[in-house]
């Protein structure tokens, strides 16, 4: 398969939202992200714009991105989804640079991303601009500083659509006002295994937050990943929305820590059994569906967090997390795996990565 030059450059690097450093946080808050929805005055929203107009919008945004020096022409990615194959589009989604909605309507769309992938703009998604910043771990405050700076710089080149009453105007009224959606991805296997996940979510629910699984699609097992985000954008400041979310995240992390301790103290054999079986699944399978792999990898991640392995490090877990998803899977291992079957290729990949990730013994 031919892979476009920009995509092959992307997949050479690890994704920006997973930290390979064991010292970074507690492994529970996986990543943080903030996005801002913006539109340009005088143009219709993308859902009501003919392709020619979308292209005009894309070139306006591109030139603002370059001129503002937020996305220098030489070092940034400028990717046109309509030029890409399905699996290349899937790679963008798996790297969290694009939403599923964005890649399903590739006509006239443009993805702008910094070299480190931590800042990006989806042009002509539901709104003309979806500016996004993400980082590993739990750090919303500095993300807000960063994205607000990018927003201001772009705004000096683009006149944003806005209104005195409703603030920034967006295609869907659920985003008007600040246009801000902040989210934190949490790995909560302890709360799930102890059955405490729901009471815990109830405990934080007065804060009006939305919860959803890792991959927006209807995949059955989300590998115990939960994405928590703010619900409101109007009648609330950016900082209020962010601090309400942060307060809930702190509580969830705390709850997960306690659940893990409880599991370790009272149900150690069950815990070791789960992690051990998961390891067996990844290491010895010859046919591995995505859901099963996600679940097994979640157990391994828990085991690594709790220091149960000295043979596997978090970098290997992170690498597998991305590599076993369909888009990356399709582009990476064909050199040495001859099977056409996705599940067989995934099993091959896991066996290989676990072999090379083992440090000793």
């Amino acid at each position: 398969m031919d892979i476009s030059p920009q995509i092959s450059k992307l997949i050479q690097n690890p994704v920006c939202f997973l930290s390979d450093s064991p010292a970074a946080g507690d492994g529970i808050a996986i990543s943080s992200r903030i996005r801002l929805a913006r539109n340009i005055e005088g143009y219709p929203f993308p859902g009501n714009a003919p392709e020619a107009l979308k292209k005009e919008i894309a070139s306006l945004v591109r030139s603002a991105a370059v001129k503002s020096r937020m996305f220098p022409a030489r070092s940034s990615y400028f990717i046109f989804p309509e030029e890409l194959s399905e699996s290349e589009l899937a790679i963008l989604v798996e790297r969290r640079l694009a939403s599923t909605g964005f890649v399903k309507n590739p006509q006239g769309a443009l993805l702008i991303a910094s070299r480190d992938e931590k800042s990006s703009i989806m042009v002509n998604e539901e709104d003309q601009l979806r500016i996004q910043c993400m980082t590993p771990g739990f750090d919303l405050d500095s993300l807000w500083e960063k994205i607000s700076g990018i927003d201001d710089k772009l705004n000096t080149y683009l006149e944003y659509a806005c209104d005195e009453k409703y603030g920034f105007l967006t295609s869907c009224p659920s985003n008007i006002g600040t246009g801000l959606r902040a989210s934190v991805m949490l790995h909560l296997p302890g709360l799930v295994a102890t059955g405490l996940i729901n009471p815990t979510l109830e405990g934080i629910n007065q804060l009006h937050l939305a919860v959803r699984g890792l991959r927006g699609e209807g995949s059955k097992n989300h590998g115990n990943f939960f994405q928590i985000s703010n619900q409101y954008t109007l009648g609330i400041t950016e900082k209020e929305a962010i601090s309400a979310l942060a307060a809930a995240i702190v509580k969830l992390i705390d709850g997960e820590k306690q659940a893990r301790e409880r599991l370790f103290e009272s149900n150690r054999n069950m815990l070791f059994d789960k992690v051990g079986r998961a390891y067996g699944t990844l290491k010895y399978s010859y046919h591995l569906p995505l859901d099963e792999a996600f679940y097994a990898l979640s157990c391994i991640r828990l085991g690594v967090d709790m220091g149960m392995f000295n043979a596997i490090d978090i970098a290997t877990v992170n690498r597998m997390q991305i590599a076993l998803q369909p888009g990356h899977l399709g582009c990476q291992i064909e050199n040495f795996c001859t099977s056409d079957d996705c599940d067989e290729r995934r099993a091959f990949l896991c066996r290989t990565l676990l072999k090379s990730g083992i440090k000793k013994g």
Partner: protein
């Protein structure tokens, strides 16, 4: 926001997921979440949101409601009043409905204003913006100018086509008046901006003097 099931209690649990490129979301009170087993049991390998949504679908069906509400937090107007299309982008009320509450262009907020107001109050924390303002300052005035101008031009075209020249002349005058008053207010804004800059400089100079 009220609970999707009982419609009485405040919904405090919000779950959403993408299905077939459409957001499906449920908003529940704690009580209904528990009652309908929309919570995780200790044995499930992971909380399965898809199953939760299916569970909710069944609960709603039992109550005589056919589908899981899609895109609940979009401003879908309940009763469709007869309204003209947006004069800027030609979006209609039917378009809003078909597109899960999405609007056609920024001017739609002005045109469908009354229609949206209630729905927005239901899905948002407040009814007016309190966050950061764009550097380009509120363009409300410009949007309204564009909007009114488009309506007048449409009317003008109608009169000309119908050979109603007296009416056409009146509308032509109205357009000229609108353009003039908009230009005047822009000049005023520029002047007050200039004034602010001059005052700002004066202020800065004063601080410098105090510093010494």
């Amino acid at each position: 926001m009220l609970c999707d099931i009982c419609k009485k209690n405040e919904a405090t649990i919000h779950i959403k997921e993408m299905h077939d490129n459409k957001w499906t979301s449920i908003n529940l009170c704690a009580e209904c979440a528990k009652k309908n087993n929309l919570d995780a049991s200790p044995d499930t390998p992971g909380v399965d949101i898809t199953q939760m949504l299916i569970g909710l679908g069944k609960a709603l069906e039992a109550q005589g409601k056919k589908n899981i509400p899609t895109h609940q937090h979009s401003a879908k107007p309940e009763n469709l009043p007869v309204m003209s299309n947006c004069p800027i982008c030609d979006w209609s009320v039917a378009d809003i409905n078909k597109n899960h509450g999405k609007l056609g262009c920024p001017a739609c907020y002005c045109h469908f204003g009354e229609l949206l107001e209630n729905s927005i109050a239901k899905i948002q924390k407040g009814t007016s913006h309190v966050g950061k303002n764009p550097l380009n300052a509120p363009q409300n005035e410009y949007a309204r100018f564009q909007y009114t101008l488009a309506i007048l031009e449409q009317t003008l075209a109608k009169h000309v086509a119908g050979e109603q020249y007296t009416e056409a002349a009146k509308v032509r005058d109205a357009i000229a008046g609108l353009k003039e008053s908009f230009a005047a207010s822009q000049r005023e804004k520029e002047e007050s901006f200039r004034q602010a800059v001059i005052e700002g400089r004066k202020h800065a100079r004063r601080i410098e003097e105090e510093d010494v």
